[in-house]
């Protein structure tokens, strides 16, 4: 077997599916998941926007430390951290090359690193928050923040559909493999095999979507019978969902500490700069 074939056989959609599920539903007892989802969402917006107002690297490093800690304590899946790690590393390499190529000094490198740092803060915070908040809470929080009901339902239904879609895709993909024929000549670095796999990866989407569309017909009927359209107009479900959410002291403490921490970081940054 060639390298690509070996890689293809080891990479399993099954594992990917499990990772997605764990990320979505698997973390019910982390610190962030104890917070009210609305507060968490607002905090998240603040935390991803604020880095863009600071140019002081001390502040940014402090923010980075927080998001890294939260990401590590939220039991983010290894796959996602790995992908992030790889992309950051590639980013650094590219920045280094760019800085050298432009004949710049360390300054150019440092300036570009600041950007990477900001992106990393955003990325880690996103991963931490969305691993901790399950799709149900997310959808309720968005509903509470006055986003349209079909949108928030779409999020929770989307998550419900992911395993079904992946399974469907897997089956169709296997159909292509069981009836297809990989090229006899592998080409340099087995590029022909790679091309063969890429091609069926794309082709398998079409039957998957058609099959899913057919199944969804029943779903739409069920939604109709169970008052989904009714509640879009009456808003009853929104009212009931809001009444089961509550902001507790822990939410206040968390927000307060976050603000104090940022303030302290800004102050420390000034001290160091002076």
């Amino acid at each position: 077997m060639s390298l690509i074939e070996r890689w293809m056989s080891r990479f399993s959609l099954e594992q990917l599916k499990m990772t997605l599920w764990r990320t979505a539903y698997g973390n019910k007892d982390t610190f962030l998941s104890r917070l009210d989802p609305r507060v968490l969402l607002i905090w998240y917006v603040f935390f991803t926007v604020s880095p863009w107002f600071f140019y002081d690297r001390t502040v940014l490093v402090a923010l980075f430390a927080v998001s890294l800690t939260l990401a590590l304590t939220s039991r983010v899946s290894g796959l996602i951290l790995f992908l992030m790690g790889v992309s950051t590393f590639m980013n650094l390499v590219y920045i280094g090359v760019l800085a050298l190529f432009l004949g710049g000094s360390g300054d150019a490198f440092l300036a570009l690193i600041t950007l990477t740092l900001k992106l990393l803060i955003m990325g880690l915070a996103s991963v931490a928050v969305f691993t901790s908040i399950d799709p149900e809470k997310l959808s309720d929080a968005l509903l509470a923040l006055r986003l349209p009901a079909p949108f928030s339902f779409g999020i929770s239904y989307g998550y419900r559909m992911i395993p079904i879609l992946v399974e469907q895709y897997q089956d169709v993909f296997a159909s292509y493999r069981m009836r297809g024929c990989p090229p006899a000549r592998k080409g340099i670095l087995s590029w022909r095999i790679g091309y063969y796999f890429c091609k069926i990866c794309v082709l398998a989407f079409y039957p998957t979507l058609l099959n899913t569309a057919k199944r969804v017909r029943t779903t739409v009927e069920a939604l109709e019978m169970r008052g989904f359209t009714y509640t879009l107009v009456s808003g009853d479900a929104r009212r009931l969902k809001l009444s089961r959410m509550s902001i507790r002291p822990i939410d206040g403490i968390f927000c307060g500490l976050s603000i104090l921490y940022v303030a302290a970081a800004v102050w420390a940054g000034h001290q160091l700069a002076l």
Partner: protein, 590 residues
């Protein structure tokens, strides 16, 4: 014969459902799906609706839930009343309080991630502040409260079905329609669903309407039967009388229970008006007419130790399926078996027993985590699905997954064309005419009926000219005629095929077709026997959660040592006895 149907115009406040002269045509359809249908079910009734494909069963369901005419626009004529309310002047959401509907592909009806969310969904949408109490009550009544925090995808088929029923009951409707409860479930789970419906009917007075192909369930649980044909009601009769109309039912492509078929065949002079419909009745009836065990019934044919060449060998194979909690679920462990040329193997076992994994492993799609697998002596571990394809072909349970082209013809030709063989055209033509697909060849597989899809998927499997053909639940979700057709096709398929392996819940298929049965139970291969050995060992099959075909239980109930596996076999063995009796009777009557 008494006919329950009332004349048009009579009004009865006791009716749960009353349809008079309903006519409906889907927009753009050639013919009406409801064509002057009359239908009536009393409050507290347990009614079965039967009829061949296209008889208007699913349109009836949609009319009762109000989806026709509120969601599917079109002209509905006549009157459809549910619990006294005219559906036309009501709405789908108002009707949801009166009637709950569980459809055949119930998995797609579940829209929320957990059992609890699913059950509170409707009460919450309709603004009931006590949604939590409602859901708790229903889950407790249905006995699944302990599952409330489970994710839908963690549930077994039977549990999903009960969840769908719970969701349908969450608004406390008095009427429940269940479309083919037994279609997607193994017999053991189907039995539990029926037991639940019976309980709802008897204890809580709910009106139950089921659409059902399997008349054995109808006989056991329902009180009356409505036969539909071409969008019309043919008749509505009490169950015993309904199922005794053997010839009329068969003309509508419905097969009565095996005991009824047997009694009907024995009654050569057509003297009886009513035949036994349940197992107990059948045993009494056949005892009374003097059917005894055949004299040579004691010996058991030894299990056919096939001498053919070994096609597939499992050697201590183990497989663990990844789960959400990272512990993993052991599908099977240290499994060893071999499949030889000439075998017709049926793999049986409950939902989740690992049957599908076992089959897929033979194609190279799933690699064993322990042990070795070999295909015709070569290790399978190193072979890709593309490499095994010429020797092994796998036909999915859901035929849709095999339709990767725009039409059936291209799908059948795909394998040979990909390999640029010169037989592609000829083989495709040949398969299409053999499996009666010529008229369908330009259609997309997804748009065919269940039976047609199954034929097409079989043709795709055969187009690979395999030595070993693997079929996953080839008869699931098929009506009885398509089922018979599929079994008939299995009898005579493929000149290249040396062995066929089928994973199935369908014990009639096992009894009538297989020559070897592998029983999977809790990740172990607990039996490797012939069908007659399996079904004669009642202690065995019942402890493995299997259910035998009715004719097997009938012959065992009559005290036969070796069970008859099909009504035909039963009649062959019993007939000699019966003719003697018939002759004696004649003599006496002279």
């Amino acid at each position: 014969m008494s006919d329950i149907r009332l004349s048009p115009g009579s009004v009865n406040p006791q009716a749960a459902v009353e349809i008079l002269g309903a006519t409906f045509r889907y927009p753009g359809a050639d013919r009406a799906s409801l064509d002057g249908m009359d239908f009536r079910v009393e409050r507290g009734g347990f009614t079965a609706v039967i009829g061949s494909n296209g008889s208007g069963k699913s349109s009836l369901c949609k009319a009762l839930t109000g989806l026709i005419p509120h969601y599917y626009s079109g002209d509905l004529e006549g009157s459809v009343k549910v619990a006294g309310v005219e559906t036309q002047s009501s709405s789908v959401s108002q009707l949801a309080y009166r009637i709950g509907y569980v459809c055949q592909d119930f998995e797609n009806q579940l829209v929320r991630p957990t059992v609890w969310e699913e059950t509170i969904f409707a009460p919450m949408n309709f603004g009931h502040a006590d949604y939590e109490e409602r859901a708790t009550r229903i889950l407790e009544r249905l006995g699944i409260f302990h599952l409330k925090d489970r994710f839908i995808w963690q549930l077994s088929g039977g549990q999903k079905h009960i969840t769908a029923i719970a969701a349908a009951l969450s608004l406390e409707p008095d009427i429940i329609i269940v479309d083919e409860p037994a279609a997607e479930l193994d017999p053991f789970h189907a039995e539990s669903i029926y037991a639940l419906l019976k309980q709802l009917n008897e204890r809580e007075g709910k009106t139950i309407i089921v659409i059902e192909h399997h008349t054995e369930w109808v006989a056991k649980y329902c009180r009356d039967v409505v036969l539909l044909s071409g969008g019309k009601t043919v008749w509505h009769k009490p169950v015993a009388e309904a199922l005794s109309n053997v010839e009329e039912l068969q003309a509508h492509q419905i097969y009565p229970p095996q005991v009824t078929q047997i009694a009907h065949s024995l009654d050569v002079g057509r003297l009886e008006e009513r035949y036994p419909i349940t197992l107990e009745e059948g045993i009494t009836y056949l005892r009374n007419v003097g059917v005894r065990a055949p004299t040579n019934n004691a010996e058991m044919p030894a299990s056919p130790a096939s001498e053919g060449e070994v096609l597939m060998r499992y050697d201590n194979v183990g497989y663990v399926y990844p789960t959400l909690d990272k512990k993993g679920h052991c599908v099977f462990d240290k499994l060893s078996l071999s499949i030889r040329a000439g075998d017709r193997v049926a793999i049986v076992g409950g939902n989740g027993a690992g049957k599908t994994t076992l089959l897929r492993m033979m194609t190279g799609l799933v690699k064993p985590q322990q042990g070795e697998l070999s295909l015709a002596g070569k290790p399978l571990r190193k072979m890709s699905p593309e490499q095994t394809a010429g020797q092994v072909s796998y036909v999915y349970q859901k035929p849709e997954n095999m339709f990767i082209c725009d039409n059936i013809r291209d799908d059948i030709a795909y394998f040979q064309k990909a390999r640029r063989t010169d037989i592609a055209e000829k083989l495709t033509e040949q398969l299409m005419s053999r499996l009666h697909l010529n008229e369908l060849k330009d259609r997309d597989g997804r748009l065919l009926s269940g039976g047609q899809q199954r034929r097409a998927s079989l043709a795709i499997g055969l187009s690979m000219r395999p030595k070993l053909l693997l079929l996953d639940e080839p008869t699931a979700s098929l009506d009885v005629v398509s089922r018979k057709e599929t079994i008939g096709m299995l009898e005579k398929i493929g000149d290249t095929i040396e062995a066929v392996v089928v994973a199935t819940h369908d014990m009639q298929l096992v009894a009538e077709w297989a020559n070897r049965v592998l029983v999977m139970h809790h990740g172990k291969l607990v039996a490797d026997v012939s069908p007659s050995e399996l079904f004669s060992n009642e202690a065995g099959w019942s402890s493995w959660g299997l259910m035998a075909p009715q004719v097997v239980e009938l012959s065992l109930g009559l005290g036969w040592k070796q069970a008859a596996l099909s009504p035909e076999r039963f009649l062959e063995q019993a007939r000699s006895n019966r003719t003697e009796i018939a002759e004696v009777n004649q003599v006496v009557s002279y």
